[in-house]
Amino acid sequence: MTQASNKTRVANGCLEEVAAELAKVKNGEPALKGLLENEPQKVSAKNKNGKYLYVNENLARDYKLPGAGIIAGIAVALTAFFASNVRADDSSGPAYSLHGFGTLGVTHSSEDKADYVGTFFQPNGAGHWRSWVASTDSKLGVQLDARFSDKLSGVIQVASQYDWDSSYTPQIEWANLAYRITPDFTLRAGRFVTSTFLISENRLVGYTYPWIRPPEEVYFTLPPTNKDGVDALYRFSAGDAVDTIQLSYGRANKKIPGNGQAVANHYLDVHNTWEHGATTVRLGYTSMDIDFHHPVLDGLFDGLVQFGNAVPGPAGQQALALGNGRRAVNAPYSIVTIGMSHDPGDWLLMAEWARTRASAFVSDTTAWYITGAYRIGKFTPYATVADSKPDKLPVPSIPTAGLPLPAAAAAAALNGGLAATFNAFAFAQHSVSAGLRWDFHKDVDLKLQYQRLRTDPGSAGRLANVQPGFQAGRAVNVFSLTVDFVF
């Protein structure tokens, strides 16, 4: 199980640094001041009397992204809007509105050698770290919408959830300006979430969907949460149906546990959504070039290059080829998606299918789920079957035959690292879930969910924080309870 323990370090290293950063954030005043001044992540926020928005200097400085200027510009525009307290054209609705959403929940997992997590970026979760956690699903978000005119509007959403650095530091989830060229044609610029899957855009708002969380088998295939860029949306009537075409392009940047970073360049999304009455069908294509850096992975590939430079012959050549060729630098990644939902009122059927094409050390994956739900008054029982199946890449290795002893030992260590890495990025998981949503109060629901999942031998599936002794292939029972609300 050395492979599993290596994966642990891949997924979850450098805890001291995370702790130091956490302390830094906690030293400030709670909530607002921390958000405004200590926030290492770039934040803009409204001040106490709600008259203007504060723009953290880091917002502009830290971002070396093309979208940064735009996002800062949007924040400034909204600042000016609220500072002057000008009401925009009021012909169809208020000039601005404030909304919020949240989830409070607990999760338990029966697997004590790995953690069940709520997002790809959570460093730990239910199972090994703690038997019961509130971190997988608990979250809070607020959103400010501003209408400047019939054509121009802006939105800022700040959301807090358990993230890569074990903190709930609020992040800007949405910050964009939308310009409606015609009632059917809208351009947006800034930060937004792309609709790769049926509920990608609203995945933080538990109140909007039946489950406790979208099935990770499908939704973890596209970890970046939002993108900075531009998009165009065109909507037209096709007989009795409405069709929406969406095209977006930009860049995404996300920290990952253990001081890693994933950057998605040339991040393109094309989607077509067809809605006819209660039926929705969505086809999509997403592609990007990923730079995936993590101290452990970089160490492995640097080690391969060093080995290749030091050792002559086929072993060295192979190490050089792997060290230079299998890094996730500008690594193409794409997804083709098909999704459908049918929601006539009393019952609901949803299904999505995704096929990923990966590169470097990541295996291609086919993932899907089917959910059925039936509504009985305020109660909605539901069931889901979900699957993630990789076309597992063969694990490459350095030939060790004939190497002198020190070189052979180094090659064996590097081969172990390669195997751990290639195994960790082949996500094989199957699960069955059953749950109940209860709309017990206006704008509030309560959900209970039981999920039984199994990973394939040699894979930890979508579990994280994998420990030595983890046995792949055993059934894992996950229980969750959440309360979702909107306001």
Binding site: Q143, D145, S237, G277, G345, D439, K442, D445
Partner: protein, 141 residues
């Protein structure tokens, strides 16, 4: 438990009352609007924010009754098959993806007044409240 005859009769009377008390909801536009007939899907698309145009391409401004009004709940149950909670979930999805805001809400009593002055507006009222300032839209299945 055996039900006595008077109790049965009382229950029957109550259920009949409930049925006859159910308002018939009709879709209405301004008397000046060119819109005369719409399909159920077309009405639903306008009120659920899927389109902001009538089939002829002119602008459509949906007007909702305020939350809690029975006419509102009946309208969404009949046309969209959605309960108040499902409707809230639907709009939460649109709001939190920055895609728009739900229709403007007003009490039933203000809707006819608003419609009369706004040819692009569309609303729904109890059939008993119909008068010449607004026109009932024929709904094709």
């Amino acid at each position: 438990m055996r039900l006595t005859k008077p109790l049965l009769a009382a229950m029957l009377a109550l259920s009949l009352n409930a049925t006859s008390g159910m308002a018939e909801v009709v879709v209405v536009v301004s008397a000046k609007s060119p819109v005369t007939a719409l399909s159920r899907n077309q009405v639903t698309d306008v009120f659920l924010g899927r389109t902001n145009r009538f089939p002829d391409g002119t602008q459509a401004i949906p007007i909702d009754q305020s939350e809690g009004f029975t006419t509102r709940d009946e309208f969404y149950a009949n046309f969209a098959g959605k309960s108040a909670a499902q409707l809230k979930a639907h709009w939460s999805k649109i709001i939190f993806t920055g895609r728009g805001q739900p229709p403007r809400e007003m009490p039933e009593s203000d809707i006819k007044k608003f419609l009369a002055g706004n040819p692009a507006a569309i609303g729904y009222i109890d059939k008993s409240a119909l008068d010449p300032t607004v026109r009932m839209v024929t709904i094709s299945p």
